[in-house]
């Protein structure tokens, strides 16, 4: 049986935004994430985006690019598609920003807007609203360094028939000097649109499977991490 098809890929990395069908390669070198502005993501004014902290912007932008890449950004009726992302540091950068408003020296007036984004799942909720996605929604915190736990969980959900489409990926931003010593091994946000092969109409980037031991397989070949998975997908599809 064929595993799910990778129908679209989108990302925000230290090298900037990108999506599969516009990319020749997937450069990934460490560094700070550049600011993500509304114009980079949505051509039209977007009331919510400007109020989001950087962590949520990165995640929402990566999801938008993945759906655009799969030709699934536009919608009329809600879709039962799930959202799952792995993370190591979660929304720690937002937590820091919020808690600065709690500490008396920060003014002692806690920001309700920032507090609303201090759960790592909140950007998935933003994406659910923006794109009409009504499936299971979760973040998985995982000590694994391969940044593939979100993809693994999505593949499991698809194989269990929980839904036919999953947005799966990884998100992490370094905490910076506010809390030294917390620097995730992977920085940025990246999502893939995964569709059960029988449902997919997209001309995709190959298929994914899970080995019995939990390894992620691209077209039957194991990949050691998220970067390698993206590169394998891009190489399979070839230049646009």
């Amino acid at each position: 049986m064929t595993g799910p098809v990778v129908a679209g890929i989108g990302w925000i990395t230290p090298q900037g935004p990108g999506r599969g069908r516009e990319a020749r390669e997937f450069p990934m070198t460490p560094g700070p994430i550049p600011p993500v502005n509304r114009e980079d993501v949505f051509p039209e004014p977007n009331l919510r985006f400007g109020r989001l902290p950087q962590y949520s912007r990165v995640g929402l932008a990566a999801i938008a690019f993945a759906l655009r890449d799969a030709g699934m950004e536009q919608w009329k009726t809600k879709r039962f598609a799930g959202l799952v992302a792995s993370t190591r540091a979660g929304c720690l950068v937002t937590d820091i920003e919020y808690y600065n408003t709690v500490l008396p020296e920060g003014g002692g007036l806690p920001s309700p807007n920032l507090f609303s984004s201090t759960l790592p799942t909140c950007f998935l909720g933003e994406a659910a609203i923006q794109f009409g996605l009504t499936g299971p929604t979760l973040i998985v915190n995982d000590p694994a360094k391969d940044a593939l736990s979100g993809v693994r969980m999505a593949l499991e959900s698809l194989s269990w028939g929980e839904c036919g489409t999953m947005l799966a990926g990884h998100i992490d931003l370094p905490a910076g000097p506010a809390i030294p010593g917390i620097s995730p091994p992977w920085t940025g946000g990246l999502f893939m649109v995964l569709e059960n092969a029988r449902d997919s109409i997209a001309n995709g980037y190959g298929t994914l499977d899970l080995s019995d031991g939990g390894a992620v397989l691209h077209n039957g070949i194991g990949v050691p991490g998220l970067n390698e998975l993206v590169r394998a997908c891009l190489a399979f599809r070839g230049p646009s």
Binding site: R88, P110, S116, T121, L124, P136, I139, V140, N141
Partner: protein, 376 residues
């Protein structure tokens, strides 16, 4: 598909260090919501929360560890190859607060990988497992995940550990959202005015029925259905029409191969906020029509324990099925408008074998579980 048993449970709440104490005090209609002594809460809309007495730790470590130590003290041995699925929304948030205040704190504890590694070492597990974060439905989603892992044959046994702390971070946030009831949480009450935060933990050992029975373990009950759906409507407020919760409940009942007539009790999320409780009543009405199923919420008694809520509610739900008694809804006085389901400040008898347990959270997340009690 393998049947999924829950073979052991433990909980710790503001009402008590174990499930028996919590259960007894729940039935008595007591509440653990009281003034916080752990930090100065004077700046916020309430000073009250449900917190655990006597949690102490070395200066730079989180109170989450003594909470977990008490939770796991005396817990049954885990079978070989047991997997770990944890659920917390903010983990060692007190350590985060300490570090941001310039006080000593174990920075490695701040990412959830910290408590995961601690749990794996404490439990002697090779695999550190994962933490599921789905806002206030985290542990419901963790139980659903564990059930799916077992049902599909990916795991024979999974330990679900749920946990969250009362902290200034959380209290200040809900205070800023004007979501706290200074009088204490009053679920499904006409005069409800917000939630009370709480802290707690639960441990649930889940096993395939085949594996458990091979070891002579009968189990406490089963997880027979689970479902999750997003409202896709609002990030912090529930959908007024309950669309996500309705879908989650229907998915859970379909997975359990049962219909609305089979559910004999509902343990609702019941946060005591105006919109959550109204949304839940709308959703239950939509699914169950004119059936009047006993309904309760634990949050007036133990507060909203966030990432631990669903796990504690599963442990209590299984006890409810075993004792054929739904605990009181502490804080409830007058029925709210447009809720025809029986909610009571007293224990309610329940007759059948299936209990529905639901949770919802920020991000539009809804999750539902169907629990089945063991026959006599």
């Amino acid at each position: 598909m393998s049947e999924v048993l829950i073979t052991a449970t433990a909980s710790i709440t503001g009402l008590g260090p174990d499930l028996d104490t919590t259960w007894r005090r729940l039935l008595a209609g007591e509440t653990a919501v009281r003034p916080i002594l752990r930090f100065d809460a004077g700046r916020y809309s309430t000073r009250n929360a449900s917190w655990i007495e006597g949690l102490e730790t070395r200066g730079d470590r989180s109170l989450l560890y003594p909470l977990l130590e008490r939770l796991l003290d005396g817990f049954v041995p885990l079978p070989p190859g047991c997997r770990l699925v944890a659920a917390t929304t903010k983990g060692c948030i007190d350590t985060f607060e300490r570090v941001r205040k310039g006080l000593p704190g174990a920075v490695d504890d701040i990412p959830v990988s910290g408590p995961l590694a601690w749990l794996a070492a404490r439990l002697g597990l090779d695999d550190p497992g994962v933490n599921v974060n789905s806002a206030c439905a985290s542990s419901t989603m963790a139980v659903a995940r564990a059930a799916a892992m077992i049902a599909s044959g990916r795991a024979d046994a999974v330990l679900v550990v749920c946990m969250d702390l009362v902290s200034e971070f959380i209290l200040s946030g809900f205070s800023s959202l004007q979501a706290l009831d200074p009088a204490g949480c009053r679920p499904f009450d006409r005069n409800r005015n917000g939630l009370s935060i709480g802290e707690g933990g639960a441990a649930l050992l889940m096993m395939s029925a085949e594996k458990a029975r091979g070891k002579g373990i009968r189990g406490i009950g089963s997880v027979v259905g689970w479902g999750a759906a997003n409202d896709a409507t609002h990030v912090t407020a529930p959908a007024r029409d309950g669309c996500g919760l309705i879908q989650a409940i229907r998915l859970a009942m379909a997975k359990a191969s049962i219909g609305p007539d089979d559910i004999s009790a509902i343990n609702a999320h019941g946060t005591g906020t105006v919109y959550n409780d109204a949304m839940e009543a709308t959703a239950f009405e939509s699914v169950f029509g004119s059936r009047r199923i006993p309904l309760n919420s634990l949050k007036g008694a133990i507060g909203h324990t966030m990432g631990a809520a669903g796990g504690i509610e599963v442990a209590v739900g299984l006890r409810s099925l075993a004792d054929r008694t739904l605990p009181p809804t502490t804080g409830f006085g007058e029925p709210m408008e447009r809720c025809g389901f029986p909610v009571s400040p007293l224990p309610q008898p329940i007759g059948g074998r299936y209990l529905l347990s639901t949770n919802s959270g920020f991000g539009g997340i809804n999750a539902a579980l169907v629990l089945k009690g063991n026959p006599e």
